[in-house]
Symmetry: C2
């Protein structure tokens, strides 16, 4: 158990934006919401998963929608209370703690804001260990957990509760309402007991985000290596490419940001080309026509100078980025995991091969 | 208080299909569902509105979606129980009676089926006195009633509860979920107390449907006039046109059936032309380029021989029809009524002029 204040939030936002793998929303927006809540209502208590009783009701809080819209559409003031009331009334008992459902610039932050405003603790655990675009894509689905009852509320005050026969149906119905509400909403789903959270959750994710964020901030202080080497060591990342963005194709369709970013190699990658495809999050990285990484491994683009993560909606012509691959949470590499979030689910026509195997023997 | 059995259902379905004004679904499908329920569970008790206590919970039951899809998509078995449970749990009290929300081939029938299956009475009252395509279009909206909490369930078992800031928002969100569920769903909305129902409802609508249906069935037995004259006398209808369908343009878009049916005059209308535009229900009738009737008055097409109503999704090239106008419920002719269901709401570029004034002095 420890406290999360403004300083911790700065680091968590930065680290979570990296783990967002291109998605998860703008960390600047997310940070403002969380810091505002903590400044007004005081710091939040972060619980280790082991500190949560087995029968306690633990409730994930998140935003749903296209990251591009998240950045333009305000968050109202009363969403968390409405979510609390709807969920608590459904279960007929109080909520013990909130938790994030994914790691990302916005979705790591909103549960902090919700916890601060309602005076509840936050659990150091999520259901992805990164960000994914669809709501059935959580470790809890593999554990047989149900996304519903799912509570949804928009900033205007419209709210909905879903109960569905599968988590994929939750995605369909909630996505339709999200679109009708203008493209982004606040939600609570996969409410669970402490025991289930401990068994299937990605534990320690808030702390990992904070550690990563803090280390990225200090990457230029390393005495024994270059900042890029320091960054790769901290993140345990595999360097996939270094390039200048030569083109970005994107479209917002069915509530998602789809697209492809093209890269011309720079530095030791000069003369080579690469591209990264995304659906909110980065899906695959291809260098000189060869796929070098795919979902569910994390493909992260960071600024070559500052090492700040570059989310898919901030990709711009001329920007210089380092493309890095990180290994995903082990449960995603199982057959059940790959059915949910493997490359073929997203229409990337390749079998899943772990990042570290694809990159064995060099890339260029 | 009286009983509704198979014979009554036959007449109610026929009369309600006429009042559906082109929409409200296929009476054959609706009838099968209601008759099946009554045969299995026994006849339904129909209550006069005055027999309902002022504080009793009265709950409308309906289907939402495009009539074309209603005819092809099955109704499951457990929808009414799910709706009952969700609504009753929300209010924390039992449901006193069901009622229809609109008059139409399907939506006059499903509340009968629901009442039979759950052993509840049905109230002789609805919220339109005809059919309309969008869910905020009820007299209860004029009375300040809220569509929410709205409960929605599909035949697969997915269910949703909406609470919205306006009835127009309910329409937006519920329509989105209806589409995601495949285009038609069962719903409960505008739950109300007996007192409110008595003040704003269209009372006696089930009985009126039954009387109309029975009379249409006997239209050829009239000794003193032609069947057409008998039909117009029974329905208090204004004859707008008699013609052969020469073209039907239609599209299913955003969950609605949109279209226009073209008519070449026959009999005394020979040499003249007319068309009727619709959005699920008929919106306007134009004869020789002059608008002769618009929503909210009822524009009904019936077979020239059998006087059976022809819903918009059964319009076919070559069919001979009589176009008849019926006066709408008086509350629809007020300013608040016309804002909800007047011609301009539907994009028909004319002020509302009552049917009987438009037709004064003859049509051709």
């Amino acid at each position: 158990m420890r406290k999360i204040g403004v300083e911790e939030i700065e680091d968590i936002a930065l680290g979570a934006a990296l783990l967002g793998a291109g998605g998860g929303g703008d960390p600047y927006i997310g940070k403002l919401v969380a810091i505002g809540a903590v400044q007004e209502c005081g710091p939040v208590t972060l619980l280790d998963p082991g500190e949560v009783p087995d029968d306690a009701l633990v409730v994930p809080i998140a935003m749903m929608g296209a990251p591009t819209i998240l950045a333009e559409k305000a968050i109202g003031g009363s969403e968390y209370q409405v979510l609390y009331d709807n969920v608590s009334a459904f279960y007929g008992k109080p909520i013990y703690a909130f938790m994030p459902i994914e790691a990302g610039g916005v979705n790591s932050m909103l549960p902090i804001a919700a916890a601060a405003r309602l005076g509840l603790p936050l659990v150091d655990c999520d259901g992805m260990g990164r960000a994914f675009p669809e709501l059935q894509m959580v470790t809890f689905t593999i554990g047989g957990g149900s996304a519903t009852p799912m509570a949804l509320v928009d900033e205007k005050g419209n709210s909905t509760i879903f109960r569905t026969i599968t988590n994929k149906w939750t995605e369909e119905l909630a996505r339709a309402v999200t679109m009708a509400c203008g493209g982004s909403v606040s939600v609570s789903l996969y409410q669970m007991e402490g025991a289930f959270m401990k068994k299937y959750g990605v534990k320690g994710i808030v702390t990992r985000s904070q550690t990563l964020g803090s280390a990225i901030r200090k990457v230029k202080e390393a005495a024994d290596c270059t900042p890029e080497e320091a960054f790769l060591r901290i993140t345990e990342g595999i360097r996939l490419f270094r390039g200048k963005i030569s083109d970005v194709r994107r479209e917002v369709r069915a509530g998602f940001n789809f697209g492809r970013v093209m890269l011309d190699g720079i530095g030791d990658c000069k003369g080579h080309g690469a591209y990264v495809e995304f659906q909110n999050e980065n899906l695959s990285a291809t260098v000189d026509g060869r796929i070098v990484a795919t979902t569910p491994d994390l493909i992260c683009l960071v600024d070559v100078e500052t090492f700040q993560p570059v989310p898919t909606d901030a990709l711009k012509y001329g920007k210089r980025v380092l493309v890095v691959g990180l290994q995903c949470f082990p449960l995603w590499r199982t057959q059940e995991g790959l059915e949910l979030v493997g490359p073929r689910y997203f229409g990337v026509d390749t079998d899943y091969i772990p990042l570290e195997e694809r990159c064995k023997g060099g890339l260029l």
